[in-house]
Each structure stands twice: as C-alpha cells, then as structure tokens.
Assembly symmetry: C2
Amino acid sequence: MASRVRIEDVAAAANVSMKTVSRVLNREPNVREDTRERVLAAVDRLNYIPDFSARSLAGNKSFLIALLYNNPSANYLMEVMGGVLAACESHQYNMLLCPLDFDSPKIVANVEALVARSRPDGLVLTPPITDLPALLARLSELEIPSASISPKVHANCAGVAMDETQAAYDMVAHLVSLGHRRIAHIAGHPAHGASDWRLTGYRQGLERAGIEFDPTLLVAGEFSFESGVHGAGELLDLKRRPTAIFAANDDTAAGVITVALERNLRIPEDLSVCGFDDTPMSRHIFPALTTVHQPTHEMGRLATLELLASIQKPDAGEMLHVPYALQLRRSTGPAPK
Amino acid sequence: MASRVRIEDVAAAANVSMKTVSRVLNREPNVREDTRERVLAAVDRLNYIPDFSARSLAGNKSFLIALLYNNPSANYLMEVMGGVLAACESHQYNMLLCPLDFDSPKIVANVEALVARSRPDGLVLTPPITDLPALLARLSELEIPSASISPKVHANCAGVAMDETQAAYDMVAHLVSLGHRRIAHIAGHPAHGASDWRLTGYRQGLERAGIEFDPTLLVAGEFSFESGVHGAGELLDLKRRPTAIFAANDDTAAGVITVALERNLRIPEDLSVCGFDDTPMSRHIFPALTTVHQPTHEMGRLATLELLASIQKPDAGEMLHVPYALQLRRSTGPAPK
DNA sequence: CTGTTAGCGCATTCAG
DNA sequence: CTGAATGCGCTAACAG
C-alpha cells in the first residue's frame, strides 16, 4: 500500500492540527507563512497524497469533470480530450467520458444518469451537444456548471469559440486570389452551428469578391466522406462546373477528391479542393489538402479552465476566443485557363 | 440535489438493516430471495443511487479503471476506449485516461503517480505500453491488476489478442492469388509486437507460395504516413520494382499511395497496395484500401471484462482471442501483365 | 440468513 | 491565525 500516510500523520509531523494541514492543501487563507512552509515540508517528506474518496465524501465534491460528446470524429475528440486532461491534471481533477447518441430522445436522461451516478462537478460540452435546449435547461435546473466548445449561441455561457465564419471567408478569399470565380460549397450537417458559420463565411466571401451567389453551386452535406462523394458527383455533373470546391470539413473534401480522381481530373490543375479542420488525414491524402486549422487541444484546455473557474465561483466562467490558421497545401491552385 | 436518499432510507422503507441493503446492492450471498426483492423494490421506488465516494472510502476500492496509452492513432484509441467504457458501465466502474510518453524515462514514475493519486482498481494496457518490462514489474510489486491488449508475450497475463501473423499471411496469400510475385513489405515500428507479427506473416506467406524472400523488398518503417512515403520512394526506385506493397498499417499504406499517384502510377493496375487496421481513412482515400479489420472496440471491452474478473478474484483473468477479417477493396488487383 | 458497531480519511463546523 | 469535535454515506467485522 502506498499512501498509508494520512493527513493526521502530516499534522503530527508538522506540529499542527489536521485542519491546518487541510487549509494549506486547499490553499485556504488564514495560515501563517512559516507554518504553511512547515506543513508543506512535512507533506513532501512523508510523501503524503490526499485520498480522493475521502475528500469527495467530506467535501461533497467529486473532483470529476465529464466530457460530453457525440461527435464521431476521433481526431477531434482525442485532441479536445487531451486539452481537457491537461487542465484537469493541473487542478487535481479527473476526467470522465460520456458518449451520447445525438438523435436519441433519451439524451437528457442519459446525462441525468451520469450526473446521478458519478456526480461530476462540471461538464464540458462539445458540438453539437452544446446546442440542445432541453439539455441546457436541465443542467441549469440541476445547477451543474458547464462550459461549451463552439456553441451556437454564446450568451451567458462559459467556454471557447473560434471565428469560423471569418475563417471560411478567408478561405474563399484565398480561392478568389487564385483566380477562381465558380466556387462551390458542400455544406455540413444542418444540426451543427459550424455548418451555418462556414456557409455564412462562404457567402460573405463571394459577396466581398463581387461574385454572385449561384444556388447550383451550393449542395447539402453532413460532414461525412459520403456527402463529399455525393456532393462532388452533383457538382461535377454540372454543364458549367466549378473550378473550386470548398467542403465544409476535411472528410467531405476527401470524398470530393476521390470522385475527382476517379473522373481523371487533376487536382489542383483542373479542380481546387479545400476543407476545414486540419485533421491528420488532410496531410495524408493525395494531394495534401488545403484546410483551416483549429487549435482543438487548446480549446479543450481553455474550456475546462473556464469550467473550473465557474465551479469555484458561479458566473466566473467566460466565453474565450481562439485564433484559426489557414493551412495552404497542394489541393488548391490557380484556376484553370 | 438528486440523491438525498441514502442507504438508510432504503433500509427503513424495506424494513431491513442497512447492511442487508448493502448486501443486495453488492450481489453478496446470504440474502433470502423475498427480502432481496423487497429491497430492490424500495431502491427502485426511492430512486436510490449509491454514493461513489462513500463506497470507495468505506470499501477501499475506487471503482476506477485506468486506460494507459501512448498510441498516436486517435481512431484506434477511441474504439478501444468505447469498448472499455462499455464494459465499465455494465459494472458500475468509471474509466480514467492516462496518456503516456513511450520514450520518456519517467514512464514508470508517471504510472506510479496515477496509481498514487487516483488509486485505480486496475489498468488496461494498450500496445506498446503492454511490453515495458520495468512497468510490468512495478505493477506486480504494487499488486495492481492489469489486462493487456495485443501484448508481445501472453504468458500469465489477462487480456485479448488477435492472430496478426495469420492475418498478414492471409493478406499475402490474397496478393499471390492475384498473380503477384514481387511483393514488398514496409515494416512497422520496431518497438511494437505488431511489427514482428505482421512481418512474420509476410515471410510465411511468401514461403508458402514458394516465393524466395528478397531483402530489397523489405524496408523499415514506423507505422507513420511518412515512413510509407520514404519506403515507397525506395521501393519504386528499384530497377525491378514490386507489383504489390503490403504496408504494416493503413497510415503507411496512405503514404505509399500518395507517392505512387505522384509518380503517375495507377492503383491497382500498376501497383497493388494494402494496409492493416481498417481505419476509417482506409475507406476515404483513393482508391479505397484493402486492409485487415481488427475488432478494436470488442478488444477493449473484452480486455476490461477480464480485468474486472481479475480484480474480483486474482488470477481469474485470461488471455482471450478475437478473429480478424480481410477487407478487400479497390487498392489491390491483378498483377500487371 | 440478518443486524449492530465502528470506522474509512477528510472537511466542516465552531471555539479558542 | 489555529485547534477539537462531529459526521459525510457506506462497508467490514463481528455478533446474533
């Protein structure tokens, strides 16, 4: 057994009471500097490590953060998760995972079950879980703090967001600078705020370039490879086909590229393709994909930090903003002719 | 507050003692069937949910399983994790994550810190964390149960494994059946058992087909896209180049495909390519990749089940075996000419 | 088969 | 600024 040493032992070693040790450990005020140091020394010498369960039970806190998700993108999740873990570690919290089925009517019940069983001190929500009114309402009833990553609405909500509209706008500007005028867009899943933002940025980008919006160049999608395949099939069948396709995410772009190559189109000579998200795959397909980088790890970390803040004092969490970065790679080039 | 109802309330409602309720909840013996039902009814009626921390503290168990990993493949991890979570859920356990740096000399210390702080009741090890003698030794000193997924050595070790050698052998057989004789292999990371198994299967497959092993057709790799790029560069520069390249995993195969397409080779007409793992990407690249499917989710689930068994009674965990499946897709075809 | 007694290790009163 | 008592909700020993 490792930690047979208890707070009582530390107290004895430092010639103080248990309570004083507890104060030092929890960074509470009202401890003289020299006694604090004495306690810390004893903690160190005895290699004391507080017991999680005892702290939870006595303090009525679980020191647990739950990460809620339904997003099927493993890369996105692993990165967010890494950020959440990093923030948890520095605050002596542990992270729980809560995979959800977005389309299930029982989603609120599932979260309630998690909360009842594990009593997390707070929740980190990832899109599109961020945008379920019923869930949000229940959480505030339960008075359980949460932080959202890229939620649709930022109002009085802790978390972190990136200006995806501006990023999409910039991407279109990049295509325009390469001489493209017939720029198509394959949209994302309608339930995701990201789809709206990226589409809005696309349209604003066209407008800014003085290019009239052509409805035939906008097709529906759902952030999947398959929707890229379908979308590209539709777009490349057009009599006047686009010279560039801006897919709402990298998976969709991969579908576009597959279709284009199957049709013996050269990328980017015959068709420019770009995506969004900068997944590892975007560097591993041929040709390497021009896309938008999101600082996903950092977003997970910052959201968790805000969550932790609002756990300590309600209303302390804020909505933070992080920068994006265009990754220009081989899949975009000058417009043909 | 949800669970203001305690075991005491349930006991009162069922007209039994706290201890009897505890027995029922923990599936302990020595409870008459009718009292058990009475208790269960009360639990249900009052919507009683046991308190995690109190159970941990009193029982000296954390009800926590830690998943140790360093594998950079997000897809692999998310699938394993899903399996671990599924098994945990059915046993009222929670899962903790422990990302590790394989090359760090502090890896054992990191695990010790996790064990000291969070006191998991058991650990699930993923490759190549499964094969660190120093770590394994420390864990048995600490007497903390563990289960391994695809460990190099199966001896007295709980967990789950797949016959990767046989799978690689079958893959080569598939290529041979398509008429290939010059079959190259780009190996995986030397630290992984999987690299050995797959290489062994490759050589056995050649031998079985009566094809002499050609050292120039075997190049080193490390399971990365980049190693596929380098390996393919080398192999395609050969005067007598291979007609098929069997990459040790899908990422490596993606690198091969990129190089081949850059050189204007047609796949599979000029060159067949296959991988291993059946990552989602394998279906999303062009052409879709022939590969080997591992039941990763199931492996995580089964390993956790074995771990849970060996937590309950030491030496109860066994080494389980799961089947693989070849996924034949577009990237392999008849050998040229 | 069931109940009673005593802590698990800590934080939280409220005194000094 | 510090300390002594009390209990968080549950399970482990023992009794019956």
